[in-house]
Symmetry: C2
Subunit: 201 residues, 2 copies
């Protein structure tokens, strides 16, 4: 049997599958394409090197930053409302909220939600750090933007318990019908939640 499967391709494919959302079949296809397109691969490799050298996680909110002091542009911005922290699951969610221009406070990236099925100790640790931040920075409101799932609800509950005793208001985003969605396509749980959170007009 000939060596059809090149180690170099397999290795790239294996590391690509570490990225959430890339399955093995796609990774293999991407790796083969990269093997066929060396110029593009060199550019990607250079870009990754620059990312490794320059990008770090903000030591206050876990957003990404290239700043040498380890603080992101949002945490350093004196025009942001430093009494409010918005807790998000991911940096992508942070970017989306920023793009919507409805929020001017600080952030805290949780990196996921608590789950009884997986080891989520790193998230527990971040919540402990959130508690310290709330106390030290005299935060007045913590807004939780977490998934409307069992794990999301568990995380909301855990944060609420952890922050108990701190003099801080805690809120969470409303559940309801997604904007632009036909009500016929909304599932029962969402409909019930939307009804419960009805707004008088």
């Amino acid at each position: 049997m000939q060596k059809l499967e090149l180690d170099e391709i397999d290795r790239v494919a294996t590391y690509l599958t570490k990225i959430p959302g890339i399955g093995f079949k796609s990774a293999k296809r991407y790796a083969i394409w990269l093997g066929e397109h060396k110029t593009e691969t060199s550019r990607l490799t250079e870009a990754l090197k620059s990312l490794i050298e320059n990008v770090t996680t903000c030591r206050k909110c876990f957003n990404l930053t290239t700043s040498k002091d380890g603080l992101c542009e949002i945490c350093k911005n004196p025009e942001r409302d430093a009494s409010t922290i918005c807790v998000v699951q991911s940096i992508e969610n942070l970017v989306e909220i920023e793009q919507s221009n409805v929020y001017n406070g600080l952030y805290f990236v949780l990196g996921g939600v608590i789950s009884p099925l997986y080891n989520t100790e790193h998230i527990i640790k971040r919540i402990e750090y959130l508690k310290r931040r709330v106390k030290e920075e005299h935060i007045r409101e913590v807004i939780l933007v977490l998934s409307s799932t069992t794990e999301g609800d568990l995380t909301v509950h855990y944060i609420k318990e952890t922050l108990k005793g701190s003099d801080v208001k805690i809120s969470k985003v409303a559940s309801g019908i997604p904007v632009g969605t036909d009500i016929n396509y909304v599932d029962k749980r969402t409909l019930a939640e939307a009804l419960r959170s009805r707004v008088y007009i």
Copy 2:
């Protein structure tokens, strides 16, 4: 407005979108994940460097190889039937055919199909090279494994015309109902083609 979008992340995302199948939104998500996971990113970068250094395209069939003489393991294997060439669209297809163990000849990777909409001159050039191979290597059969689409059919036609005058049999894979597919889910064109290519039993 704060610098939310880091150039380093955007650059990685841009190069990732060059890979067919990765859209901009996914690429951005992958780039952010890579920014958050430097150990994994370093490993990926090393793997890509090794790929750039060691992997090349076979100068006979355009399969990938790490061999210094520029020939892949299939082209070099004396046990393969060197009188038959299977023309495939991509290296992935080559790998799939190899895994199915139904073929023992040589290959020729076309890298796509001819299209009137895009510049497919590189494919035309490969077909010219195929013609030379057929002549020089005294190939007896060329099997075309191309998409059952308008462009695929156009490519089949073009190859047939190009090889006219060469003393070579040309065949193409059968169209029909995919194995394991419920006939109720087969489209009309496939059904018609399968009927036309019916096999007496």
